[in-house]
Symmetry: C2
Subunit: 663 residues, 2 copies
């Protein structure tokens, strides 16, 4: 049997990502436009190195319909013509050509692509000490201590990988921002990175701490209407742009989870954002102002971002974009879309997805997230938002992302930010052909099987973690395992799972209906009406919006309790099925990769059982109902599970050893 290994020169370790592989002694004929640039040089070099097809002629044209970054590929008789309005457009076209070549796809008569968004941004939650909040793939790739003198070769590889998938902006540091990033010393380091990114069409952005003027220069206030403060930010912007003329702008987490912000000075989010935006405006920079706010107030947490931001509609300057998490709570395995989308028609809004799997099994679980993001776009018209951001899952692990399949989420994020109409299946197919199946002779049915695993994987996680609209049943702090029973004395109520599941002897679910918190009232009338009626509310959101009796009868005829049990069961069964199907892939991939995935799937199955047992046993203490007979009975004891303490922080993924020891 012709295996991957017999066909491939080197072992697959994931370090190459989806980047085109250089062809030895390649004889590609590539013609670049006369008005050359660093970016065009990159495009030319990539094609020269790896393109094995007909000669390629790159041309800069003027075609408004292509937007800033679009391109056209036209295969001709004896050459392929690649045209774009801009050098980045040519670069994106070049990468598309190479991706199609790797996938073994023949070129159609014309490829015409225009990205849906001008801003396609990765948010790194990287701290300056190289820990990464909610990062599960090693340390930050930014080696601040060595910068700017020493430039890791990974910066360039990272830029290439992003450009190849259409990402054109990177926020380098955590939204829980250290002011130090804005100090002169750090800005020189940032400049070094920006210089590397520039040829790849990527702008650098920074997360800014709203209190930076106080923290860096001992100003007595950070009040956005204070003239000293305003001047401080203006001067800071000038300082940045002197070093980085194409600096992208600021991302700001303000008055959220303890971060400083304008409300500390009785100013609104709009006043704070506009002040910073005006400092950046002369230089062409923008402010991305996060709407992730929830005070420890009485109001339903899911309502708070809307309550705080919706009234500000129309008050933001035109270089401010309000960045809204996809759902109203916090990156749960499944949430309904945030009702802020569509509720601020006079404000530029962007969505913030989470690529890193904070709530989806960290680097241990296979969870392909394209279907989750597509689900968002099925509710929110892609044209109604201005830009797309994703919280990166990148670290300094050899394969960049910890779980080999987590790469596919980085890839899929970029592709969907480019074009939300792409299907999850097509993106998975693209990624597979350029990565783990690259150079392997994989039969179509095996590829289909892996795509199938990927496509079902996120729903499996939802099923074994928190189906039917349940959310935030996570262990305190690290968000890895189940802890629906978690109750920390004196803890913020809205940080406790019971705040969200509201399970008691009568039933389960958060009543957000018109009779409850009326979070439903924040949605458009038509939708709200449907959500408000438990019989019409989609099952996947049922317990998000309703508190229902354990024996409530679903339209399916099942009781709520039985259905809940069956969802958890299905999560385990699905995960086991992934494991079984993965076995079929063995002959076709690198043995170490095969083993690695096999091992992670085992952990995932064990975790799925842990989740299922923990949640069902806990809820059973309240429901006092038996498990339906078609459910595999629990193997754990609730009191044992309650003792589990992984002892990991918010930037660690539990290792197999740790999981073995602790359960």
């Amino acid at each position: 049997m012709l295996t991957c290994m017999s066909a491939k020169a080197s072992v697959y370790d994931g370090s190459r990502l989806w980047l085109p592989q250089p062809v030895e002694n390649n004889a590609a004929v590539i013609k670049a436009p006369k008005s050359s640039s660093a970016t065009i040089n990159v495009a030319t070099a990539e094609l020269r190195s790896s393109w094995t097809g007909a000669p390629v002629e790159m041309k800069l044209i003027k075609d408004k319909s292509l937007g800033r970054d679009g391109f056209i590929i036209t295969p001709g008789k004896d050459k392929v013509t690649l045209t774009a309005n801009s050098a980045p457009g040519l670069l994106y076209g070049a990468y598309r050509l190479l991706a199609m070549q790797t996938a073994g796809k023949s070129l159609p008569n014309e490829i015409r692509e225009v990205p849906s968004y001008d801003l396609r941004i990765l948010n790194h939650w990287d701290n300056l000490d190289r820990t990464i909040e909610r990062g599960y793939s090693g340390s930050s790739i930014w080696v601040w201590d060595e910068l700017p003198a020493t430039i890791s070769p990974r910066y360039k590889e990272y830029a290439r990988a992003n450009a190849a998938v259409g990402i054109n902006g990177v926020v380098l540091n955590n939204v829980n921002a250290s002011s130090s990033i804005l100090s002169a010393g750090y800005l020189h380091k940032v400049k070094a990175i920006a210089d590397i990114f520039r040829p790849y069409g990527i702008k650098v952005y920074l997360s800014a701490n709203f209190a930076a003027p106080m923290q860096l220069d001992s100003l007595p206030t950070a009040d956005p209407l204070d003239r000293q403060v305003i001047k401080w930010w203006k001067d800071k912007a000038s300082e940045i742009y002197r070093l980085i003329p194409d600096f992208g702008g600021f991302l700001v987490k303000a008055n959220s989870e303890g971060q400083p912000g304008p409300c500390d000075f009785d100013r609104s989010h709009a006043q704070g954002a506009n002040m910073m935006a005006r400092a950046l405006k002369p230089h062409g920079g923008i402010v991305m102002w996060r709407a992730f706010v929830y005070s420890p107030a009485d109001a339903d947490r899911a309502k708070q971002a809307y309550i705080e931001f919706q009234p500000l509609d129309g008050q933001f300057d035109d270089n401010v974009i309000v960045q809204i998490k996809n759902g109203p709570v916090d990156f749960q395995p499944r949430e309904p879309y945030s009702p802020l989308f569509g509720a601020m028609p006079s404000t530029d809004c962007m969505v913030e997805f989470q690529i890193t799997q904070e709530y989806l099994g960290h680097s241990n679980h296979l969870a392909y997230l394209a279907p989750m993001w597509k689900e968002f776009f099925s509710y929110v018209n892609p044209k109604s938002i201005k830009a797309v951001a994703g919280v990166a899952n990148v670290g300094d692990d050899t394969n960049w992302t910890g779980h080999p399949f987590a790469q596919a989420n980085w890839y899929a994020f970029g592709r969907l930010a480019w074009n939300p109409a792409l299907t999850g299946e097509d993106i998975a197919d693209e990624w597979l052909s350029q990565t783990i199946f690259n150079g392997c002779n994989v039969p179509a049915e095996i590829t289909a099987e892996v795509i199938d695993i990927m496509m079902r994987s996120r729903e499996a996680v939802v099923d074994y973690m928190m189906p039917m609209g349940l959310h935030h049943l996570f262990a305190f702090g690290h968000h890895y395992g189940p802890e629906p029973w978690c109750a920390i004395e004196g803890g913020r109520p809205d940080w406790m799972p019971s705040y969200y599941h509201r399970a008691d002897s009568a039933g389960i679910g958060f009543d957000r209906s018109s009779k409850g918190s009326n979070a439903i009232g924040q949605y458009p009338d038509n939708l709200a009406k449907r959500l408000d009626n438990p019989a019409l509310c989609p099952e996947e959101f049922l317990l998000w919006f309703h508190h229902l009796p354990w024996e409530y009868q679903l339209p399916s005829g099942d009781t709520l309790w039985d259905s809940l049990c069956r969802h958890y069961e299905r999560g385990v069964v699905e995960t086991r099925d992934f494991q079984r199907r993965w076995e079929h892939v063995q002959p076709y991939v690198d043995p170490a990769l095969f083993d690695d995935i096999q091992r992670r799937l085992k952990t995932q199955v064990r975790d799925a059982i842990w989740w299922k047992d923990g949640c069902l046993l806990y809820f059973q203490e309240l429901s006092r109902l038996p498990f339906p007979d078609d459910i595999t009975p629990p193997v754990h004891n609730l009191d044992d599970l309650k003792k589990v303490n992984l002892g990991i922080s918010n930037f660690e993924c539990p290792t197999a050893d740790l999981l073995n020891r602790q359960r």
Copy 2:
């Protein structure tokens, strides 16, 4: 719903075993024979206390066909007549009456029972420090330190329980015997126990250390032909019988696993046994001489007892019984019967079963062993043996046996020693009605379900531990978990699992065929011929007798590898099914009992998966074959499992906590 609890006065904790419950202000009319005795008094008292039916008249008669211990129950117009040749016969009849009453069974026209064996003996492997070798239910019930002054009330309860089930002999101490038990001080303690047992028709026996004359009285030798030694044993016998006139005799483990014996002095087992037998003979005592021998020799261990003992046929005195373990190796979950049975026609032989679950999951796993013992009797004619012994599973736990269902094995051993023709189902039914279902209003279908669990349980253990004739894949020392990979440098080869499974890249199994060790040649010709042909050898013994290629095709059409995988899978699936069915029992039993069993079943399922994964992953490294698609893939990693070290001794059962911590 009328539950067990609403009908029952007290909580079920298993401490009462299957003993009849006293009825308050009972008005039973019981007529005892004139020639009273302590034993008849017990029978009378038991009936007076608990019998609620018609008056009972007990009569001593002379009827040779009833043997020593048989009885007849004849329900008449206005009384029930119970007749027997002996007081113990009446006692057994009384207990049978009470058992039938508890089970709610009406009396047929006549019950006539004659036990198949005169000797029905429990072997305690209890050490004098109260540890129990292979005991998993607490410390020894014999509190030697306090004896003879203090008499635990449990001695009498233990005697009642044994009498109620027909057991009439107890070896008090471990076969790995301390000579101290034969010292004057200890013999007084033994006498105290014997005095309590006597009214219940139970004789006391002791395990004797063959070197006792050297150890206790500094004789220079223990040579059985030495006159001083002969005299020592004669004197010791007289000393014992002065204290205990009905002392039963000695059980001897000689020249086995480091124990001293006649072979140390170049004498045969027969010479050793006869010397001791002659010391006991004047007093009516017997010697039970164990055939459990295997030297660290080249010969197949399964052959050694036969090689050593068969030539001695005819050389043993008539008060010696050779005690042979049911199988040729050592109490494995499944073994073929030992070929010594039937091979010593001129020697009295008895079978030694193991009630304690040394190799069947200790006190954590539900394994009802009646089917295993019935399987033995399907190969060995019950009439061909003289007596039956069982290694006890009794300890000082509240419920006596650790696992509540392990009581059923003690019960079933007694019942089968009484009558090997009883069915496992009937015995289970009897036991349930007198124990966990006693006083509960349990529907017939629930009883049937629990009997079904019990009847399938031992085969499930075989499937998840070592199906198809595999054996001794146990972890070194404690025999709890899997360790087919175990290899201890310098260790006795026949103590290593690889000695038994012989798995290599070519195949698996121990070639004991005529082309291999020819252990098959020790069996009768007809059977040997069938066993020798892998196509005719019963699948359950296939790898016991044959080394076969991984892809060997079974009559079923499956390959050996696939079938092995499916057996392991079935073991897990069965155990899960027990767990599921146990849920149905909840309304009918004591809640604490329900929880306890539920918890143990969880452990059993986890262990079944541990076994399956450990064995299959290990064997897969050799077979290099994929798991069939209908097998649930492993959840463990072999290297993790290889690291498991439970750190328990040969008298501990791993607790759930330990299992959680170590895996």
